[in-house]
Each structure stands twice: as C-alpha cells, then as structure tokens.
C-alpha cells in the first residue's frame, strides 16, 4: 500500500504553493474566488493544473505532485468562505 503523505516533488511546488495560499492567505483566496483562472495563471500554473485545481480533482492533483493535506484544507477553507452557513451549526 502506498503511503498517504509522500515527499512533495519539486515539480509540484507551484501547485502546492497555490494550495497553501488558498488555505492560509485570505487575500489570495478572495482573489481566486473573484477570478480563479486569472489568479492561478498569474501564480504560474498551466492550464492542466488550473483545471485540476478548479475542480479540486484530488486524484489528478496528487498525480501532479500536490500534497494530500493541502488539497484537503484548501478545499475546506474555500467551503468555509463560500458556504459559511454550513459551519457553526450547533
């Protein structure tokens, strides 16, 4: 069985940097929600990576070198921003 958390290859660095900023950088996340395509392109991602990230296609992202935890928390933080009514429910 493959490990769940593996060494992030250098080729995945720009993608991981975008995932990290979606997770932790409020201004970057807001810019992404305003204009995802332009924000990711300006951050240095190519069309393939932009498509994988915009759909949060986990398998594709991991194949491109994304770190599994960053995929998870970038998705959760986006949801907390776009659907806050689904949190703090009790």
């Amino acid at each position: 069985m493959a490990l769940h958390y593996t060494f992030p290859p250098a080729s995945g660095y720009p993608l991981n940097r975008c995932l990290y900023r979606l997770k932790s950088d409020d201004a970057f996340r807001d810019a992404y929600l305003q204009d995802p395509e332009a924000t990711l392109r300006e951050a240095g991602l190519d069309a393939e990576r932009i498509a994988a990230l915009r759909t949060l296609d986990r398998d594709r992202l991991l194949a491109l070198g994304a770190h599994a935890y960053l995929v998870f928390m970038a998705g959760m933080r986006l949801k907390m921003t776009t659907a806050p009514q689904t949190f703090e429910r009790f």
Binding site: H4, Y5, Y69, V71, T86, F87, R89, F90
Partner: protein
C-alpha cells in the same frame, strides 16, 4: 521541577468550527473531555504549557521544513477562519529548551516569527486554564516526509523531561494530534480505529516506551502520522499509565483525549 500535568488531545478542526457534516452529540462529548483537561490544568497550576504540535504546513511551508523546532519569541499569533489568537510565550523556558536541546545533541530549528497553526490553537481554545499562562510551541514535523523517526521523537521527549526537571517552572506538557485520520486521502472516511484502540490499551498499561519502536511507515498506514507528538510526550512521561478521558470515533477521525499522572 518535575512536570505538573501531561495530556494528549486532538485538534480536529471540525470540533472547533462544527460543520453540518458532524454528529453534534459526539462533538459535545469531546468538548466535555477538553473541559476535564481544563479542570485538571487549573488544579495543576502550571506556570507554562509546552505544546507538542505538528504544523499543518502553516507556520512552515516548503520554504523550510524542520524536523524539530522551538518557537522562541515573546508572543505568537495565528488565525483559522474567524478565529484569531495570540498567546504569550514563556521565553526563558523556550530558550532553555533550545539551548539545552542543542547541547544534548538535538539539532533544533528555532523561530521568532511564525503563524501559529490550529494544531496548537484548538486544544488551547478548549483547555487553557484561567488565568491564562504562557506557552512554548514545540514543533514536530508530521506531514512533510521525511519526518523524524518515532525513536528520535521518544528520545527528544526524554531530553525535554530532563530539561524540565532542572527548571524552576511548573510545566504542563500537551501533545496535540491524532488519533487515526487521513485528511486528503482516499481513506478519509475509514480511519483505523482498531489501531487506535490497541494503542490506547498499551498506553493505559504503561507500555508507552514501546512506541519508540514503531516505524514511520506504520504510522502513515494507520493514519497516525501525528502520533509523533504523542510519542514525544511518552518519552517525557516514561512508564506512567495513561487514563483515557474519552475515545470518540467520528466518521473521519479517532478523537482521543488522554492524561498521564506525573
């Protein structure tokens, strides 16, 4: 001075932000477990709380990935969504840990400026005593391979205990993390609860030293990469027999709260 309290607690973010995906009663039972640790900390009257935590690629991104690190600033702050937090740091103890840790052969990284990850915040949100006491964030790399080995984590815990024992402060030691969960993995919905239960049995029997012989591969496969913070704490508490305050498996996380007599 010897330790005045030792506990391991989860930092599952859903316990803090309570999304609709969670079972309300289960979350409230874990909150009750945090409250018990809060009462034990208030009774123990620590001067400082040292928190062993695994950074979730928040304070340390791929710009630098230390295996073991100590935060040696005067305050430390962070944020998680609407939660904004700042803690005073016990600088004299942090500096003693850094300097004596290096003397003891641990090539520690230190920082005076890091965003504090929620791994440190969530347990303190629920268990920080009143009046608040300063903290020392102690970093153990858990998510970015290659991580420190379990035996190294255990040895670091033993060194921490020796450092604490020679200090004037009353120190509470917390380990943040675990138990089984697989964030971002295909196995997110199927943690290894059996591994957790067997481990809790070992810890209640005072067999914590055996965790030094675990392998990194075993921890990863069990969804327990964060167990390294517990192993470090176990190095500090030795053969003390753990008390399980609660073990509450959710659909994605084995939430365990454990204390040790010290």
């Amino acid at each position: 001075m010897p330790l005045c309290a030792a506990a391991a607690l989860p930092h599952t973010p859903q316990l803090l932000v309570r999304p609709e995906t969670e079972d309300r009663d289960m979350v409230l039972r874990v909150h009750a477990g945090y409250a018990q640790v809060n009462r034990e900390l208030e009774a123990a009257r620590p001067d400082v709380i040292c928190v062993l935590g695994g950074d979730h690629i928040e304070g340390f991104f791929l710009t630098s990935v230390p295996a073991l690190a100590v935060y040696v600033g005067s305050t430390v702050s962070g944020k998680f969504d609407r939660y904004r937090y700042t803690f005073d740091v016990h600088e004299p103890l942090a500096r003693a840990i850094l300097e004596q840790g290096i003397e003891r052969g641990f090539d520690l990284t230190y920082s005076q400026d890091l965003a504090l990850d929620y791994a440190f915040y969530v347990p303190l949100h629920f268990a920080m005593p009143e009046p608040r006491v300063p903290i020392v964030p102690l970093y153990v790399n858990v998510y970015l391979p290659p991580q420190p080995t379990p035996s190294r984590c255990y040895a670091w815990g033993q060194a921490l205990r020796a450092i604490f024992d020679a200090r004037p402060e009353r120190v509470a030691l917390l380990a943040s993390g675990g138990l089984s969960h697989f964030p971002g993995s295909l196995r997110y919905g199927s943690p290894d609860y059996e591994w957790d239960r067997q481990m809790l049995e070992r810890l209640t029997a005072g067999r914590g030293a055996e965790t030094a012989a675990l392998t990194g591969e075993e921890l990863d496969k069990a969804g327990n990469v964060e167990f390294r913070t517990w192993i470090t704490l176990l190095g500090a508490v030795g053969s003390a027999k753990a008390s399980v305050v609660c073990y509450e498996p959710s659909w994605h996380h084995g939430n365990a709260i454990v204390t040790w007599p010290v």
